[in-house]
């Protein structure tokens, strides 16, 4: 029985593949291949490996999330989640800002229009503060 046919190894490799989602494709492929070959070589040394043998080989390889975390550190990849959150915030802020500015410019300035004008200003201030914190974080 080859390793790719073993359901335990297959699910381990699938979990690792998921965990390596933000690793570039070439490195992701190399890591997956290396680990698959490692498991195959380790199991080939055992005559008729049992489920316990397979579990032991996988346990020694370690947790897929830990391997992925190590891969990101080794390959200098920062998780992109916080970046995309900031990007979404920026777009939402920009759309609200442009919309409100258009509303104000096409109507006469009264108390309601003034409130509309205040919204983009507040959004921009919050964004600026958030961005400053975001920029400082990685250092």
């Amino acid at each position: 029985v080859t390793t790719t046919e073993n359901p335990l190894v297959r699910s381990y490799l699938a979990r690792l593949d998921d965990a390596l989602a933000n690793v570039p494709p070439e490195e992701r492929r190399q890591i997956l291949d290396g680990i698959q070959e490692h498991a195959a070589a380790a199991l080939a040394e055992i005559d008729d490996p049992t489920e316990a043998d397979v579990r032991n080989v996988l346990a020694r390889l370690g947790d897929p999330d830990a391997i992925a975390a190590d891969a990101r550190e080794r390959l200098g990849i920062t998780p992109s989640r916080s970046h995309s959150a900031t990007t979404v915030m920026l777009w939402v802020g920009a759309v609200i800002g442009v919309f409100n500015l258009l509303m104000v410019s096409t109507s006469q300035v009264g108390p309601i229009e003034f409130a509309f004008l205040a919204v983009p200003v507040v959004v921009l201030v919050v964004l600026a503060l958030g961005l400053r914190r975001h920029v400082r974080q990685p250092t």
Binding site: T2, L16, E26, E27, Q30, I31, D33, G34, I35, E37, H38, A40, A41, A42, A44, E45, R60, L61, G62, D63, P64, A66, I67, D70, A71, E73, R74, L75
Partner: protein
């Protein structure tokens, strides 16, 4: 407590940094396949925590062209991917060895001074 954490973090980082060159040093002696490399490293106390973390490291060494790979048949089991040092890898290892010895001697000299003072 805080000091312990900082020291553990430093040791982890030092191990991680040095591991790259330990792999290059092992491969400078002969080509090895992944499992063989892991086992040789495991014999050195505290060098590898989980076997799987060797593969991101090997991927990086391949990307930097310090290491390349060849396939070889094996008598027992599937063909094996052997990792071998490139000329660039050999140079990187030689540079590290010089730097490492200089660094080690400097730290040792300072630590010995400290001990004399205690």
């Amino acid at each position: 407590m805080h000091c312990m954490v900082a020291r553990d973090g430093l040791l982890t980082q030092m191990r991680k940094g040095a591991l790259e060159y330990c792999v290059l040093a092992l491969l400078s002696e002969r080509e090895m396949y992944g499992l063989e490399l892991v086992r040789t490293l495991a014999e050195v106390d505290g060098m590898v925590l989980s076997e799987g973390t060797l593969y991101p490291l090997l991927s990086r060494l391949r990307k930097e062209e310090l290491v390349d790979t060849t396939w070889q048949e094996s008598l027992a089991g599937p063909p094996r991917r052997y990792y071998r040092l490139t000329a660039k890898g050999r140079r990187a290892l030689a540079e590290f060895m010089t730097e490492w010895r200089r660094f080690r001697d400097a730290v040792d000299a300072l630590l010995d001074d400290e001990r004399r003072g205690l």
